[in-house]
């Protein structure tokens, strides 16, 4: 083996230019694969972090909510949700895995801004949250993306009537000015209308909301909007929400409809004076790798306690995540495939030329007693070495370029994000990718050498010795 590698190494150096070209092809393959793979890994980590911060790893719903609940969240509420949370939180298997467990209430309705000269309303998609739990969830950063958020003073447990709305919804409701939003055009003055009936209804809604909002501070200067929903019993319900601020949501459809409010307010809107339920119990785990086992344990608990509940993970709740992962995976596979084919042909070409040039040498060593397998091993070893050296150099360059990019201060807006984030290439933090790319390329180079190596091994000794 020592002699084999010694001869292989010297033969590689013997044809320096050819070996350099082949090694460069392997290095370019490693570089492209690792840089794109590192970028994709960063995208996946970023998307997963974003999703887990927003909706946790797992959510417990009433059975059927996932398929049918969006149309009528009130019907799919979880009864005695505090008991369910206690059951989950006290489970010895789940407890150490859980970082945050928090109830949420989804709701639909119409939001309107009827203050001053405004007269705008818009359907909304609302979510009721416990603000302090939201803050804790937004600190989750298992993959070290740096995309954590400090506690948001605009939305806290201390104010049951204050919430956040989407940037687009703020624009639609004419709240850009009152909220001091930049890059948010003010609403043009509407033309005079003779539709007195509509303005009378809007005034009534505003008055109703003011009567219901006992906790609202009448002296507050913060803008507020009126929310109209249907309760679980079908009756209309109106409440006022103080708008603490606007938050861009990345996706326009959500941005134009989003309202986050305290859980108690959302429950009041949906259930009125009836039993307050929730639509989901969100579980954020310490580590994503526990998701499968946590889900299995949850299903066991649900089954053992005969609960009419179901569990969904963030991938199911946000199909966009899966689509992006599949898209980037497909591009990565395509790049890896192209690079693999280039390496394959480069090594086959080089090794075939080596066999041609060394035919007489092959005849000599065969005459001396080297077996066919020995000749085959010799050329395979050379393919392996070219692959190993090329892949190692390519990986080293990938580490270097990734470090430069990561410290270069570049930013970009990833799919689904509203704000620019630092551009990052996760090569160093993806050992599986590095090892996989290295092993894959070395394997391709070794396999590529097989064909010429077999040709060399099959040469007739006499013919090889005659070769000039």
């Amino acid at each position: 083996m020592k002699l084999l590698l010694k001869i292989a190494q010297r033969n590689i150096l013997r044809n320096r230019r050819r070996s350099l070209m082949t090694g460069s092809a392997v290095a370019a393959g490693a570089l492209a694969t690792l840089l794109f793979g590192g970028f994709a890994a960063y995208i996946f980590a970023g998307l997963e972090t974003n999703n887990v911060q927003r909706i946790g790893h797992l959510t417990v719903f009433r059975a059927g909510y996932f398929l049918f609940g969006a149309g009528n969240p009130a019907v799919y509420g979880i009864d005695r949700y505090r008991d369910v949370m206690a059951l989950i939180g006290n489970d010895p298997v789940l407890r150490p895995m859980i970082n945050v467990m928090t109830p949420t209430q989804s709701l639909l309705g119409i939001g309107g801004n009827f203050s001053g000269e405004n007269d705008a309303s818009k359907t909304f998609i609302g979510i009721g949250l416990i603000p302090s739990d939201r803050d804790r969830m937004r600190r989750w950063d298992e993959f070290g993306t740096g995309a954590t958020h400090p506690p948001d003073p605009r939305f806290s447990d201390n104010d049951d009537a204050r919430g956040l709305i989407g940037f687009g919804l703020a624009r639609i409701l004419g709240l850009c000015g009152p909220l001091g939003l930049r890059d948010c055009p003010s609403m043009p003055t509407p033309a005079a209308t003779s539709d007195n009936a509509a303005s009378i209804v809007n005034e009534d809604l505003g008055e109703l909301a003011r009567r219901d909002a006992n906790s609202a501070d009448p002296a507050s200067t913060a803008p507020h909007i009126e929310l109209l929903t249907a309760t679980a019993g079908g009756a209309p319900n109106v409440m006022s929400l103080t708008v603490g601020g606007a938050e861009p949501q990345g996706v326009k459809e959500l941005d134009d409809n989003y309202i986050a409010m305290p859980l108690a307010l959302a429950q009041q809107l949906v259930y009125g004076r009836g039993e307050h339920k929730v639509t989901g119990i969100v579980l954020q785990l310490h580590r994503s790798e526990d998701m499968r086992s946590a889900r299995a344990r949850l299903m066991t608990l649900i089954r053992d306690n005969h609960l009419d509940l179901d569990v969904r993970d963030f991938g199911e709740l946000t199909p966009f995540y899966g689509q992006v992962v599949r898209l980037f995976s497909a591009i990565f596979l395509f790049i890896a495939l192209v690079m693999g084919v280039i390496v394959l042909f480069a090594v086959v070409n080089t090794m075939t030329m080596n066999v041609m040039e060394r035919t007489n040498e092959i005849g000599t060593v065969r005459a001396m007693g080297v077996r066919r397998g020995g000749v085959r091993s010799q050329f395979i070893a050379e393919g392996f070495l070219v692959g190993a050296v090329g892949a190692t150099i390519g990986a080293a360059f990938a580490f270097l370029i990734a470090a430069l990019v990561n410290h270069g201060g570049l930013t970009w807006v990833p799919p689904g994000n509203a704000n620019p984030v630092p551009l990052h290439v996760a090569v160093a933090s993806s050992p599986g990718l590095v090892i996989g790319a290295w092993v894959g390329l070395v394997l391709i180079a070794t396999i590529a050498a097989l064909l010429p190596a077999n040709s060399a091994a099959r040469l007739s000794v006499v013919d090889a010795l005659r070769h000039v």
Binding site: V370, R372, V462
Partner: protein, 252 residues
């Protein structure tokens, strides 16, 4: 008495059985070798029968295209006869598969080629050591025998040099050392002086003759040069694929 030339290499690897001095190291009976060139059959050897004795410096002499190299290839077990039977070192070669034939060559046969055929990426030392690696000689013994062999052919000083740093004569000396270092039963030399000038060729013949006499290894030497006949113990004249004359020199 230890040889001044081959001291240190007398411990040749043990063979399966010691040769009977009266027996032939190579025995061919009605051997033919026909090359098929498309539809045309070209007979290179025609029903050759011969017996080459042990411990002799035998010479195959004939013009170019007479079949010398084909005959050497068959004796060296790197080619197979189209028909006929052949024994080398008492072994019927037809009974061996490819791997066994390779192992047989590694242990019993040394080659010296016209164009030297050294492995270009190995030094003179490593080229000579190579055959010993193939037959699994331990490192210490390998080193001892390699150095002794290089000393024997006068190339101790050039041990670290690669073939491209050696002259033609030096390359052929390395080839001789490589062929002899494992202590083979037969050394085959195909026109070993053809690529050398007259003086160097003569010194190579002299060297081969000397080491053969001291090691008592059987040498089979193919040449088209009648002037080299004087060095031979056994002479086989080959013409058009047939042995047309065999004589034994009695001067020694």
């Amino acid at each position: 008495m230890p040889s001044p030339v081959l001291s240190g290499i007398s411990q040749a690897p043990a063979r399966a059985s010691a040769p009977d001095p009266a027996a032939a190291v190579v025995r061919l009976h009605q051997v033919a070798r026909i090359y098929q060139l498309g539809a045309i059959a070209v007979p290179a050897l025609k029903d050759v029968s011969l017996a080459i004795p042990y411990h002799r410096f035998s010479m195959l002499i004939g013009a170019s295209g007479s079949g010398k190299t084909t005959l050497l290839n068959l004796i060296g077990c790197i080619d197979a006869p189209t028909r006929g039977t052949m024994e080398v070192c008492g072994q019927n070669i037809a009974e061996l598969d490819d791997n066994a034939t390779s192992a047989f060559r590694a242990r019993n046969i040394g080659f010296i080629f016209q164009n030297f055929s050294l492995v270009p990426v190995l030094s003179a030392y490593e080229n000579v050591e190579y055959p010993l690696l193939l037959i699994g000689i331990p490192a210490a013994e390998r080193r001892e025998r390699t150095l002794a062999m290089l000393q024997a052919v006068g190339l101790a000083e050039q041990a670290a040099q690669r073939p491209n740093e050696l002259s033609g004569g030096q390359k052929q000396r390395v080839a001789i050392a490589r062929a002899l270092v494992k202590g083979p039963q037969v050394v085959l030399a195909d026109e070993p002086t053809a690529n050398l000038d007259t003086a160097t060729g003569a010194s190579i013949i002299e060297l081969m003759r000397r080491v053969q006499a001291e090691s008592r290894t059987t040498f089979i030497f193919a040449t088209h040069d009648p002037q080299l006949i004087s060095h031979a113990d056994e002479i086989f004249v080959i013409r058009d694929g047939r042995i047309v004359e065999h004589r034994t020199e009695t001067r020694r």
